[in-house]
Symmetry: C2
Subunit: 397 residues, 2 copies
């Protein structure tokens, strides 16, 4: 019954499919599975922090107790007790977040796709930080917006820089805590100014917060969500405080937007895995994260310090870098004439990898930048890898 020599299909891809490209980061990760390579390229949390036994016990408990419910189709908006827990954890004394403002996602990356799907038309203006999270640029790109990189400094986006460019924009995307890729944090005064400016302009403000709990020194700064629950779209994730491989995140937004996002979610994948949501609720409901997250903070803070010390010791004086107060990344700026994409090719030959900075820029890339992650590399390897990179950079001066 098999056809004999059918002509191969000439695929006619959609215009948006022509925007799609493989992620530079993930393509590099494919190279760095070689165990000899010291990779600062990953965006992966350290598996040392995964509460494996706790997750095993929770799967066991949920499947033993309510297996048939956990394995059946579930509601598109998510598992109600977990949505309640999230709403409670985000509420403050003067700002109550309601469970109906929470939509569960198959990882918070999905929130970027769904938000773009319902808010971006071809050519719509979208405001992003300079540089910005690559995964967000990729997710938004599919819907063919007109990106505007808003002027930013070590504290993130400059609210006053919005005045000239926000007219007609559909959304502003920000990552205020320990940003991917720069590691920088937006100060409190600037958060207030950004929320006020967006509210005045009627501009939806996305607060993407996957790393917020990974503060090295005390509690993270107040969320923009709580400053204006009527205008901020907040995204959270269990990837960095629990485990990423289960793919569980959420978006919090005013109910008018949540209704549209839920419809888009239904069309995209019906609902997020019911078992996963019930297991995570089982794990977090009694305060487990309060004891667990400090152990992650401690590990990452220590490894960050090892890398900062190594940079100080081995990198030439003409390079500069950020000093993160939390999260997983350090951002390095090299002398202008050094292209980090070229540098990567040589570095990989010497068994060290990192992510070049250019892909994180929506518009004019700074080719002399790069991102280093320190969370999955043991301290002695961090020193060794930074020393190798330092020598390589010095040889270009």
């Amino acid at each position: 019954m098999k056809l004999e020599n059918p002509a191969p299909i000439q695929w006619h891809f959609s215009q948006r499919a022509q925007q799609l490209q493989s992620s530079v980061i993930r393509d590099i990760l494919k190279v760095t599975v070689n165990p000899d390579i010291i990779s600062f390229a990953g965006g992966l949390p350290s598996p040392e922090t995964f509460p494996v036994e706790r997750m095993r016990a929770a799967h066991d408990a949920v499947l033993s107790r309510v297996g048939k419910v956990a394995l059946q189709y579930g509601p598109s908006d998510g598992y109600a007790p977990l949505r309640e827990w999230i709403a409670g954890s985000l509420s403050t004394s003067d700002s109550t977040i309601l469970p109906e403002q929470v939509l569960m996602l198959s990882g918070s990356q999905q929130g970027l796709d769904l938000i773009a799907k319902v808010l971006i038309d071809e050519g719509s203006k979208v405001l992003v930080e300079t540089p910005s999270y690559l995964g967000a640029l990729q997710a938004f790109s599919v819907y063919r917006p007109n990106f505007v990189s808003v002027a930013s400094d070590d504290g993130g986006m400059l609210p006053e820089a919005l005045e000239g460019v926000a007219d007609g924009a559909r959304l502003l995307y920000s990552l205020p805590n320990f940003q991917n890729p720069t590691g920088r944090t937006m100060p409190l005064e600037r958060r207030i100014a950004l929320v006020e400016t967006c509210a005045r302009l009627g501009l939806p403000l996305i607060e993407d917060n996957p790393y917020g709990d990974l503060s090295y020194r005390g509690e993270p700064l107040p969320k923009m969500l709580n400053m204006n629950p009527h205008g901020v779209i907040y995204m959270g994730s269990f990837s960095k405080v629990l485990t990423p491989g289960i793919r569980l995140g959420y978006v919090v937004a005013p109910v008018a937007l949540i209704a549209k996002l839920e419809q888009a979610k239904q069309a995209a994948d019906l609902h997020t895995a019911q078992l996963t949501q019930m297991v995570v609720h089982e794990v977090v409901k009694d305060g487990f994260l309060d004891e667990h997250v400090p152990t992650i903070r401690k590990l990452y803070a220590d490894q960050c310090q090892v890398m900062l010390d190594a940079l100080q010791e081995f990198f030439p004086k003409s390079a500069t870098w950020t000093r993160p107060a939390g999260g997983m990344f350090i951002w390095v700026t090299l002398p202008k004439h050094i292209d980090s994409m070229e540098l990567l090719k040589e570095a990989v030959q010497q068994n060290v990898a990192f992510v070049p900075g250019a892909p994180f820029y929506a518009n004019e890339p700074a080719h002399n930048t790069l991102r280093l992650s320190f969370v999955t590399v043991p301290p002695e390897k961090i020193r060794q890898g930074v020393a190798t990179l330092g020598k390589l950079i010095a040889s270009k001066l």
Copy 2:
């Protein structure tokens, strides 16, 4: 720090978001959680068929053995051993499916979204059966195609009806086995003719096959995928043979298309849960489905027969219905003057629910049709519900 009385956002939704509507089926399901209602409306498999203990043991084994890997980020294309298993299970003596043709999905619904994303531009012609699966119409609608309902009969789409309408079409969507919503099956000769016609026209043919294994009498008919692996896009799911709440499906396609779909997958949700894929591989790798699926077939075949007998006994002679050879649905056609949406309102008042047929039509709906599912309702309730419906319909004659 909270803003005082900020103006609420005036949401400016994208044009595609304005297409989005809540699924009629899922909205009805919200009503039918009332345990007094006999619901033939669901598309849910029977939880009696879920191998709960097997799933519990597999989670336990995977998390105990390789927990840190299972809980870490994974590759966008999926867990390699499961992709190999799927490729093997789909290969035949004269048609080899390769693992690199398989992309793992967060449920097969996601395949509909990704395929539409990379193949459909606004106004692109998309060919569908009459009627067709509502979830596919919803997923495709987001990308604003021009749907063409191809003439169909009790054997599904008529290949000869393509001649006039296929010019410039981007894809043809078919569900050949025990179709949702009609329960009908496409005969072998027609499959061959459809594959030949699509190959000649250079038209990508989607074969959506969530129910194929649920054949009541012997093996299902040969897959169109195996008749032309270079031109058929095949979609499969673990929802109906294992459990749906874990959200695991896959798409099989020529590698040129898989590469684009993988990029779209990466932007949409990075990858499908690693733990879920490893657990399902653990469950299926030693032939578990060979013993398990026959128990599902038996249960559904028996309940289908109960409903067919009840329809014969209680429905008026002027109604007709399909006699499925597998799957989960029976499709009823009432006398022309009866609108099943109106009928539903009265039926719900008498504690019986079903899904009206109109939403399953891409173009001109037949308002006198409805879909009945028999798999989650016990036999005595099937008889009782069908009797109630029969009386209600008779009262309209």
